[in-house]
Point group: C2
Chain length 362, copies 2
Amino acid sequence: MRFYSFFEQTLQSALDISLAVNLKTLSEQLGLSQTTVSRGLNGYPDVSETTRKRILEAAKKYNYSPNSRAKSLATGKSRTIGHVIPTNSQHEMVNPIFGDFVAGASTVYAENGYSMLLTRVPEDAEIDTYNRMKSSGAVDGIVLQGPSVDDKRIDFLRKLDIPYAVHGRSSGITSDYPWVDVNNRRAFQRATDLLLDLGHRNIALLNGLEVMDFAGRRKQGFIDAFKKRSIEASPDLIFSAEMTEAYGYKVTTEVLATGSPPTAFLSSSLITALGIRRAIEDQGLRMGRDISVVTHDDMLSYLPNGDSEPVFTATRSSVSLAGRILAQMLIEKIEEKSKGPDAHLLEAELVLGQSTGPVSVR
Amino acid sequence: MRFYSFFEQTLQSALDISLAVNLKTLSEQLGLSQTTVSRGLNGYPDVSETTRKRILEAAKKYNYSPNSRAKSLATGKSRTIGHVIPTNSQHEMVNPIFGDFVAGASTVYAENGYSMLLTRVPEDAEIDTYNRMKSSGAVDGIVLQGPSVDDKRIDFLRKLDIPYAVHGRSSGITSDYPWVDVNNRRAFQRATDLLLDLGHRNIALLNGLEVMDFAGRRKQGFIDAFKKRSIEASPDLIFSAEMTEAYGYKVTTEVLATGSPPTAFLSSSLITALGIRRAIEDQGLRMGRDISVVTHDDMLSYLPNGDSEPVFTATRSSVSLAGRILAQMLIEKIEEKSKGPDAHLLEAELVLGQSTGPVSVR
DNA sequence: TTGAAAGCGTTACCAT
DNA sequence: ATGGTAACGCTTTCAA
């Protein structure tokens, strides 16, 4: 009895100063073996209901939670998924869709008892990081974000023989790999179609960097829309750069000063579209009357759909959805509920704003 | 000899199929003890230069990296820092500054051999998550983002007795805690001052949710600017809600329809400012001529400073900087290079756009 | 300068 | 239904 009360006391004070209660202490307290307690906690069938109840109560009382490091060492699973953000850009700021994607994915991780390990490394150290993630046993799976054209990392991940999934696709990679993507080509083709329908011919495309795979697809959609009407998109009005606001401002200012300025702008990013609008306003032109701006990656998804207000299709929330789907896919792969590489194409629409939305040529 | 070549072969094939090389295999291969190899890799002084060289070469050759779980189990340190994003909002999208902050912090983590563990949990499970993070030994430190007024989580973290740091402050918490914050009050006071200088009197403030601590500070700055001139800010023009675009659109539309519409808008968020602009354009008014919009949390930081172009102060990049500073502070706390709670106040300025910037009353 | 062995906190196999 | 014990891969103490 003195013995037990000693432990009681130890545990109580441990509780107070938040010292870790481990399986050993807990089992001693319960007068059971570590094995039984472990089984009780992990829902094994071969433990009586009464003992299980006792175990769970004690665990709760002493605020026990298993040491995840020890658990993962014993099981060989870390229940953690690695995401890598390359520091590829000059500025520290990050594309807003990054947050949406991460939010979507980590929600699903949390629901399934996984956590997300986020690392930011220089682009040239990325392969090395994947390598270490795997061989250090830190993660059970890896997510590759924003693939470039013919992305060598995809083959590398396959060879690394670790579950992985790609947000976006990579043209040039012929082998199978699991991905989740939106239909960039079709979305931009539709947007261009709309502007062409309204009579625009001089349309400027402010695209992202063409090493990024999605940029190539968007450009293709733009060009295809013209081709289908047997007209040619002016190559002088197709721009490609990192999607900053300065880029939008600069290009728009320059292009509006030429002999035949565009009557409409199609932007690959909201940030860039901000620069475009700013430049247009500087020229004394009015959005939605003198000129049209259509942008993808918009934040209008906050506006309620199906109301008296104009309908805005949620591009940003589709990114978050992509995160969810991809996370689910990866978890299933890790837990071997599914095997082969999956592919999911999300149907993203373009965002058409009210005042900044397309108008016909005057 | 046969013996060594057997291992050579084993290791080689392990390399090919990317099987984990562990300390045991590596030391057997080298003909050394695990102890020596471990010491060699971790830079202990008591190992001869020649052996150290051999060890490092072999480690590189066989692509060895220590199992982080085992290491952390043995050392009691996880070299991981936990961030929690509460799922407090109706929508899945996340404030863009979240990405900037995370990017800044994780850069510093990476530089110091730390990684970031990101979890997204329902708001009511947050305390529980911190608890588990600590008692499961998953993290060495915790970052609290976006505190509310009188945030109970701060006291909880202190009691949890784990290194932590807060991005933002919490009025009502009198005890010391480590934080990094911008001067929200002063920034909004200055912006309001500027608009008052230009002759505006009917200024609308579209603020964030007032449970969030930063929103309270911003409102205070707004009110103070009026007070200093012995005039009163109209309470009817102060709004508070989650910073969506719909919020900006709705409030602006309504307020412009009243008898004395505001001549200027001050917005707590770029997203909301988008809604404000959209509504203004719908009324046929022109930005930067008929009306002024000043917004905080802008993305204009992409524009180069000190050029011929107007100077835009980098609010977004200051968030990223906050992430860096906070990460550095937390790491020092974890490694016990510093002890007491630190406080850093970053000097954030308001962003004043060119066309959308403030104009005097006409 | 090097090595043997104990220990970190779990799980899992094999008994009973 | 329950318990003893050997792993998991590393660090660290103690010896040599």
